[in-house]
Symmetry: C2
Subunit: 195 residues, 2 copies
């Protein structure tokens, strides 16, 4: 493999879930592209990095200083869903059911990875908690770190006199009990709802 190609392979393999073999395949694909396609790819990377900043309100990725969701006056300002990253925000938006606002933490508290609360967009969240906000829904991922971050945020926000909630644990829709892991099953029993 040529040195230039090796450099490109290393770039690709620095991306998440791309191993050496996949990175090599991707790099070869670049070589098969036309000059225009390769240039367009390179420009897309540079432009994304240059143009996409954080919304000054909710900290989601945005090309304007205030993102379209924060700028949308049709959306309620009384509920804020707090998510770990933009991917989670988009997953919730795709349900087409939530009409409030978001806040993106850009990570979770993880002592193992040396990520503390100060590295997350938490003070930006607290700055938003004025009298209009009635509820903050913590929607971190259902992992140990996600849970710890949720508890940390809960303790921080409660003193503001704002309702703080957490997404429900339970069986995913369409699942069979047989294949559910026992922790999920236990959470589903604990969180049972009455008819």
């Amino acid at each position: 493999m040529t040195p230039t190609l090796e450099k490109l392979v290393n770039c690709f393999s620095s991306l998440p879930n791309i191993g050496k073999k996949s990175a090599t395949r991707l790099a070869y694909r670049i070589l098969e592209m036309t000059e225009e396609e390769a240039n367009a790819f390179a420009s897309a990377i540079i432009e994304a990095k240059q143009n996409v900043k954080l919304c000054t309100v909710c900290q989601s990725y945005s090309e304007e200083s205030v993102c379209p969701i924060c700028a949308n006056t049709q959306r309620g300002i009384d509920t804020i869903i707090v998510v770990e990253d933009n991917k989670a925000l988009e997953a919730i938006e795709e349900t087409n059911e939530f009409n409030g606002k978001y806040h993106v933490l850009h990570g979770i508290i993880s002592p193992v990875d040396n990520i503390g609360p100060e590295q997350l967009k938490i003070k930006e969240l607290l700055a938003r908690l004025n009298e209009d906000v009635k509820e903050v829904i913590i929607a971190t991922n259902p992992s140990v770190e996600g849970e710890a971050t949720a508890m940390y945020l809960g303790r921080l926000i409660k003193p503001f006199g704002i309702k703080v909630s957490r997404l429900a644990y339970g069986l995913p829709v369409g699942a069979t009990l047989e294949y559910a892991d026992s922790i999920t099953l236990l959470k589903a029993i604990e969180g049972r709802t009455e008819f």
Copy 2:
């Protein structure tokens, strides 16, 4: 998702085996990079495309007009292994056992994909078949198209009075018969070797 980000996602999802969801994850990773890292990535793409050309002899990817393998006078010139692409060449090189030359076709004959012999580096292969070449080993992948391409090349090369061979079919080393597919098993029986 912002328009610039969407453009980057589309670039990533044009790559092989990268679906929409993976492409989104990769694009977000670019946003998390430092400006320097993102620029280095973009440059790596442009440089690879600009610097890596085809070796004028074997048609493999190379930064010189003649690649290191073709330029290496320590390697035998009597055997040429014909492969579909550079990945196959590298796989064979990794065995550290073959000391001859290669020829890269850059594809296989595939009527379904509208790829005929004229789109492959076949005339460049025929141009190399001088009196020094004693054997051409066709090492296309063991697929229907790979097999058809091998047969086509075999018919083309035989009139030159050169031995043409094909990689052996059989059980992969370490496999168990129980899990081998029946065609492979049949090929292994057909190609059995005597003690």
